[in-house]
Amino acid sequence: MPEVVVPIGPYHPALKEPVNFRVIADGEVIVRLELDIAYNHRGIEKAAESRDFIRVVPLLERICGICSHSHTTNFVKGIEEAMGLTVPRRGQYLRVVVAELERMHSHLLWLGVAAHEIGFNTLFMWTWRDREAVQDILEEISGNRVNYAINEVGGVRRDLRPSAIPGILKRLDVLEKRTERYLELLRHEPTTAIRFQGVGRLSRAQALEYGTVGPTARASGIDYDIRKDDPYVLYEEMPFAVVTNGHGDVYGRTLVRIGELRESIRIIRHALENLPQGAVRATPPRVAPRAEILSRYEAPRGELSHFIRTNNTDRVERLDVRTPTLANWTSVAVSLVGQHLADIPVVVAAIDPCLSCTSRITVVDEGLARTSVLTWDELRAHGIRFYREKEGL
């Protein structure tokens, strides 16, 4: 059969955000995949350069609707490192609590989305109901359900009332039971098994070669978790194990995420039971000295890195955000080869893509009616030219 090109996107019912795949298929089987992810460039990195450290945090919180806490924590811990600021232990513990709750709500949301992609709407409804409990806890701690606005340079903005802790712990018990239930369901439900097992396979070597991060890498047997490998905000004091398995397929990624739900519950329980006393916030200086920081963070989707350059002012000179989705995208193109067309939604969903976090510049040539993405060399040349001109070199 000749190869046919199936265009998917930028608008498609399987996609919640704009992205364009050109699927080259031989009948029902995928031969090659071309990705175009540049539909949602928002200029946040540039906007961050014009806001001081207080006003930039709410902006970064809005890079992603789900890992909002990840971006702010990653940024403020970078700035704190540049300032040489020590954050009170209670503040760090609260950051961990919110971060792990965020991981839980992200993974529960993902589980529902993956179930929805294979038409299993009951699991979708169940996980999203349980996610409500997580968001209720988040609301109790921070006052907000999605963008928690709890971080700022120096610590957290709200203290946790001691009277709230027993209620939170009680709901964690319920969530733990539900997590076990999902694991059971995943192991025994036949349609989920045949739609997840062996689909979107990525070997350990491929996962390393394409630089995958987070649950995608861990499901291919790579023991890589920033919380363990490069601990930040007192993760070294938290009891948890890095969840990995060797399946390498969508099933493996699901098992990793459910395993991480369990570990998150352990971490939150430990942090709440051993919450240190004292202040939650240190007063930071207005400006940060000249420094270059690479701040790394284990977001729900994988390693998130912020490159921050400060220059003796109250704002960043340069902020470069590398989201986990960008690191994982190329692995999708590989793991879809040889799969069926019907598996596209679930394999794409398996890396938990967040497209608006990921978009990069596209050049649109209106005259030629052609779009192209800058190559690495062009982008590098452009960057060098831009900063030369800016610094007057």
Binding site: P13, A115, N121, M125, P190, T191, A342
Partner: protein, 323 residues
């Protein structure tokens, strides 16, 4: 019931088209309510399916550019007519006055028509999702139709008749066929689920892949009629299985006067169709969608084998036990 006006009343009002439409909407309500309660949702109020139909009827009726307007409009109506006609032969309050030797074949044929029409709809609407969905519809038809027909053949062989009423009467004299032919009963239920394109067999209209499959370009009253047709097919299909495997609306003893017998028979019909719907709804809520190649494996390897096995058992039993 040989008078013409009584027959017209039967065909048009009760238990014909009017009753069929109302009961189809009621079953849709029950189906949605069961799904909602399993999924920890509240679910729709009783009149919601009716309100949906009214709303769709009042919506703009769009025909895509370059599509044969009359042809596209005819498809939902043809499907509606086919299912409504099929239902005339399904026993609701005792045996149907239209019953004749061989009506089982007619009902099976008429119930296949909506699926074929969905395939045609997918082709004529010139939409890529509809075309792919249409192809999947017909691929799926080839997978489930053979086991489904074989499963319904079992009762016919056992009773030695192609008439639904005869099969019902045979069950009254012996035992209901769901007990005698359990494999066939299960295969028939799976076949009905696939025929109605309900999860895990909603491959042709897989929302996350194909928007709505062949339904993609349907709007307004065309969509209303087509949806109603699928609900009516649910009534006709579950009524048929109730008649063939569960003894239909027949009561084990003769009730006097006749209207009381009819009333009790109708109650039995409602209970049995609701029971079948409960199974179908729980299967729909408890599973995800399989892929078309996986369905192909499942259908031909297991479902068809099970159906043939059941037929062999029936043939042996007919030859040995009742000869």
């Amino acid at each position: 019931m040989t008078e013409v006006w009584l027959l017209v009343l039967y065909a048009m009002v009760f238990p014909g088209v009017l009753f069929l439409v109302i009961y189809a909407l009621f079953l849709q309500y029950v189906d949605r309510k069961i799904a909602a309660r399993t999924q920890n949702r509240v679910g729709p109020p009783l009149v919601q399916p009716f309100a949906d139909v009214v709303k769709l009827l009042s919506k703009e009726d769009i025909t895509p550019e370059g599509v044969d307007r009359r042809g596209m409009r005819a498809i939902p109506l043809l499907a509606f007519a086919a299912v409504a006609t099929a239902f005339l032969y399904v026993p609701v309050i005792g045996t149907s006055p239209f019953a004749f030797e061989g009506d089982l074949v007619v009902v099976l044929y008429l119930l296949t028509l909506p699926t074929i029409l969905l395939f045609v709809l997918g082709w004529v609407t010139r939409n890529i999702f509809a075309a792919v969905g249409g192809t999947r519809t017909v691929t799926q038809l080839f997978i489930y139709e053979v086991p489904f027909f074989l499963a319904l053949l079992g009762p016919a062989i056992a009773a030695g008749s192609w008439s639904i009423s005869e099969i019902m009467a045979w069950q009254g004299a012996n035992l209901i066929l769901a007990i005698l032919q359990p494999i066939g009963f299960v295969v028939a239920l799976i076949g009905l689920q696939a025929k109605l394109e309900r999860t895990p067999f909603d491959i042709p209209e897989a929302e996350t892949e194909l928007v709505a499959g062949p339904w993609t370009e349907l709007t307004g009253r065309k969509l209303a009629v087509m949806r109603l047709t699928m609900d009516m097919a649910l009534v006709a299909g579950s009524g048929l299985i109730a008649a063939l495997f569960l003894g239909g609306p027949a009561t084990p003893w003769v009730l006097e006067p006749a209207w009381l017998g009819g009333l009790v028979g109708f109650g039995v019909f409602v209970l049995k169709t609701l029971g079948i719907l409960l199974i179908l709804a729980l299967v729909r809520a408890g599973m995800g969608r399989v892929r078309i190649d996986q369905l192909n494996d499942f259908g031909w390897k297991y479902l068809a084998t099970a159906a043939i096995l059941q037929i062999l058992i029936v043939l042996l039993m007919v030859g040995e036990v009742w000869a």
